[in-house]
Structure formats: C-alpha cells, structure tokens
C-alpha cells in the first residue's frame, strides 16, 4: 500500500492531525515540567486517568465522550499533586506517587465492580490513535489552541518560574497562579495523550521530546520549537509505520521518540568529542 493511499483514509488523516496536535501540546508543556523536575507527573496523571476512565465507564458514559468526561477528575488530581507538593512536607515524586497509586487503585476497584476489565478500559491502557473520533479531534484542536495561547500569554512568567521560583516571586510574579495553569493544562494534555499513546506511555510524550530538544543546547525558544518538531515528527512517522507494519501506533510513536533522543544525543557526543 503506497503512502498516498494510506493518507487517503479519513481515520488516518484524523489520527495524524489529532496526534500531531496532542504531541505538540505535550512537548510544549513537557519542557517546563522536565526543567521543573516534574517529569513523572505524566505517569501520575495517566494512572489517575485510568481511575477516571473507570468511573466514567461505570457511570455509563458513551465511549465517544469518555475523554471529555474523564477531564474534570484528572484536573482535580493534578491540582491535588500541586497542593501536596506546595505543602513542602512532601516531595514532588512522593506526591505524584500518592495520587498515582490512588488513581490505579480506584480504577481496579471500579473495574472489578463493573464486572471485571472490559475491552474499553484496555483500549485506554494501550491507546489507539487510529480510532480517534471527531469529538476528540475537535477537543485536540481546542486544547492545542488553549495551550499555545496560554504559553504565549504567560511565556515571560513561565520562563522565570522555570528558571527560579523564588526569583520569580521577588519579581512580583504570581507563581501560584502560573503553577495552577501549568498543572491544569498538563492534566488536559495527559487525558488527550492517553488516546495517542495509551495510559502506559503518556509520560513518554511529555518527557522524551523535551529531553531530545535539551540535547541541542540552544536557546529556550529554539528548544521549545525543537521539542514540538521532534514530537510531531515522531507521531507522523509512528502512525505511518504502525499502519504499514500493522503494529500498535502508540508504541511506535514512543519508539520514534527514543530513536530521535538517541540520534541527537549521539550527534551531540560526537560534536563534543570533536571539539575536545
């Protein structure tokens, strides 16, 4: 099957577009999270998403609206992680661990109550971007616009808070508000990323493009652009290869993200070696 034929399918077009939008959003937010040492928040929120999806399925929400319906619970969980972290008595990794394990436990109990794991829940565990529906595509577009607008509007504040939170406070920046915005957008992004890579691999979309871009050692804006570029590239290649080779798209997207990381890291090492 040739590329033009693959691209002619409506579901492939939807997958490529939605996947690119979600990956771009995850990469943008991921850079701030990685630099703030909140890399594992994606994992935590993904596990919470598992619990939230179980709640939504138990209530009997139509599969078309599961992503949308799971959002409020995941956003609340994200704020819970932030609140726990802000208390200063609990480190970020421990706070993520608490909310994460609660999410998974809730998911397992609720699945059990509903008569055991069913196909729907498994589809969220491993994701399938090729099944993205129109509602999710529209949601991806809205979230993309929202995140880009927030990053542009709060860019200066996000930059300073990421650089040094205390310094940001001394400049009169409302660090609490910036953190809440970042955590809420991450929650929305994690729920959507679940569709692309599955709950098991959500954090990969947040972490890997940012890590790859950081290997370039370039300015902040260029790093952000590069992270988005790597993320979208991995999604496009991942989906196309998955379709042609009949392999899971989510896993293929992660594989391409890792290939980019290894390639860029390798080239960087070579360059440093040549300079030395």
């Amino acid at each position: 099957m040739g590329l033009p034929e693959v691209l002619s399918y409506g579901f492939v077009q939807r997958a490529l577009l939605a996947g690119s939008l979600i990956a771009a959003v995850s990469a943008l937010l991921g850079l701030f999270l990685v630099l703030r040492r909140f890399s594992l928040i994606g994992d935590g929120l993904a596990h919470t998403t598992f619990g939230s999806v179980a709640v939504v399925l138990l209530v009997g929400v139509s599969p078309f609206y599961v992503t949308l319906a799971a959002l409020p619970l995941v956003m609340i969980s994200s704020l819970a992680i932030y609140r726990l972290t802000s208390s200063k008595k609990i480190h970020a990794d421990a706070a993520i661990g608490i909310v994460s394990s609660l999410g998974i436990a809730a998911g397992i109990i609720l699945s059990s109550l509903s008569g055991g794991f069913n196909v729907d829940l498994f589809s969220y565990l491993f994701g399938n971007i090729l099944t993205v529906n129109r509602t999710e595509l529209v949601l991806s577009l809205i979230v993309f616009a929202l995140v880009v607008a927030a990053v542009v509007y709060y860019y200066e504040d996000l930059f300073v808070v990421t650089f040094d939170q205390e310094l940001a406070r001394s400049m009169g920046i409302q660090t609490g508000r910036i953190n809440v915005v970042l955590f809420l957008l991450t929650a929305v992004s994690a729920v959507l990323a679940m569709k692309v890579a599955g709950i098991m691999l959500v954090s990969a979309l947040l972490i890997l493009p940012a890590l790859t871009a950081l290997q370039l050692s370039v300015s902040f804006r260029t790093t952000m652009t590069a992270a988005v570029g790597f993320a979208v590239g991995a999604v496009l290649l991942g989906i196309l290869f998955a379709f042609v080779l009949n392999l899971p798209a989510g896993a293929m997207i992660v594989v391409f993200n890792i290939i980019f990381l290894l390639l860029v890291g390798g080239v960087r090492k070579l360059c440093i070696g040549n300079k030395a």
Binding site: L35, E156, F159, F163, D164, R169, S170, V218, S219, F220
Partner: protein
C-alpha cells in the same frame, strides 16, 4: 518616605523563631549593610522584604505601600545568594536570562548592561554552561537592567574570587553614589562593609544594632556586646580607607 519600612517583623520556621520584633527603616539613597552570624535570619529578612515569605507578625512596606499591595516590582533589583532552583540543563541563554520578565526587549539596553558587567561576549552562551562567577555577573546584570531604585544583594560575593569580589563592591558603590540607588547588602564580609556602607544593621534573630556605621564603631554598647576585637574587625577596613570611625 522611607524606601523600606519594617515594623515588628516576626517570622518562625516550624515553630522556631528566626526573626523577632525587627524594626528599622531604609531611606532613599542609603547604602545599608546587613551583617550577622550564620542562621541569624538575614536571608529570611530579605525574603520577607521581597514578599517571597509572608510576615507572620508585623508589617513590611516598600516605597510607602504595604508589601501585600505593592505592585511596582520593576523598582527592585534582587540578587540572590544562589539560585535555589536552577536546573543545570536550563536552556536559557545569558541574553534571555538578563532580559527575563521585561515586558519589552531592548537590544541596546541589553548590550549596555552586559558590557557594564563585562559579559557581552557571553550573551549567546547558555546560563548552565558558564562559571559560577560569570553566573553571578549575569544575575547582577539581570537585577540592574530595569535600572531599579532599590537593589537588594543577598551574600552576592560568596564563592567569588577576591578580584571579582572587589569589582562587585566597587560597582555597588558606583550604583549608590552615581545612580542614587538605595542598596541593601547582606554580607559575611564584615571587614569590608564599612568601606562602602554608611549604615549597618546587625542581626542575630533580633535586631542587635541599627544605625550609621560611624555610630556602630563608636558605640560602647557594641564594644561590650561583640568585644573590642570583633568590633575592630568590622570597623578596621573602614579605618584603613581613611574615612575613619
């Protein structure tokens, strides 16, 4: 109207009192040195003045406004002792860091500020890739680029070599004398503060002394408190420059 007014400030960490009943004012154009032993609450005081910490008792005013209502943060330039959260992989260039938080970027202003700190050649380097001394210069450039009226330096010369340290102190004096900036310098270099600061605040959880450097050196009470040797160490450098106390 004083630039800083602190009234009955008390602050506790986990129930332990770190600052107790602190009260002082800093007038416009003054150069104040804040000294005291380790753990005396100097940095906590600075963080309360800057709104990083909220006073648990008492009040802080900046430029006549309560810290809770203060909004003119561009009037303040702050240089922390060290960056608490700087990630070594942070991808910001020196130019980006110096201009951060500025609503409008001005290349000429940037270039002038970098040149003043002798770091123009570092503009495109990443902040995590330069030495600690260079990072301090970058942070000083960041504090100065808005041409602030109040400069607060929290132990800025820690880990700087003696030459860079002297350059830094000379610069703070220039900012105070030529630009008319109000300077608050928290330092351990008690032997050199008298060269530059006209006022001294000695802190040890409580306010031990607040007044002019000359009064401090002449004070019999302070001699009794510190012993003549310690007081001499603080005042000695002032004497050696010939401006006497």
């Amino acid at each position: 109207m004083p630039v800083i007014r602190v009234e009955d400030l008390t602050y506790r960490y986990n129930g332990t009192e770190v600052l107790s009943g602190i009260r002082f004012t800093v007038e416009r154009g003054a150069y104040l040195a804040v000294v005291g032993p380790n753990g005396s609450g100097k940095t906590t005081l600075v963080k309360n003045i800057l709104g990083i910490l909220k006073p648990q008792q008492g009040r802080v005013e900046l430029f006549g406004r309560r810290i809770e209502d203060f909004r003119q943060w561009e009037k303040i330039g702050y240089l922390p002792q060290r960056l608490s959260g700087l990630n070594a992989h942070f991808p910001g260039t020196v130019a980006e860091v110096v201009q951060m938080g500025l609503p409008k970027k001005d290349p000429v202003l940037l270039s002038d500020t970098l040149d003043r700190m002798a770091i123009g050649h570092l503009a495109r380097r990443l902040i995590g890739e330069i030495s600690y001394g260079e990072q301090q210069r970058v942070m000083l450039a960041r504090a100065l680029i808005r041409r602030p009226e109040l400069l607060i330096f929290d132990e800025p010369t820690t880990a700087l070599d003696p030459e860079t340290r002297n350059i830094f102190y000379e610069l703070t004096q220039e900012l105070s004398r030529k630009d008319g900036a109000t300077v608050v310098l928290v330092t351990h270099d008690s032997g050199v503060v008298g060269r530059y600061a006209q006022h001294l605040l000695y802190l040890d959880k409580k306010l031990i002394f607040s007044g002019s450097f000359r009064d401090f050196c002449a004070s019999v009470d302070m001699e009794g408190f510190f012993g003549p040797a310690s007081q001499h160490i603080i005042c000695h450098q002032h004497d050696s420059k010939g401006s006497g106390c």
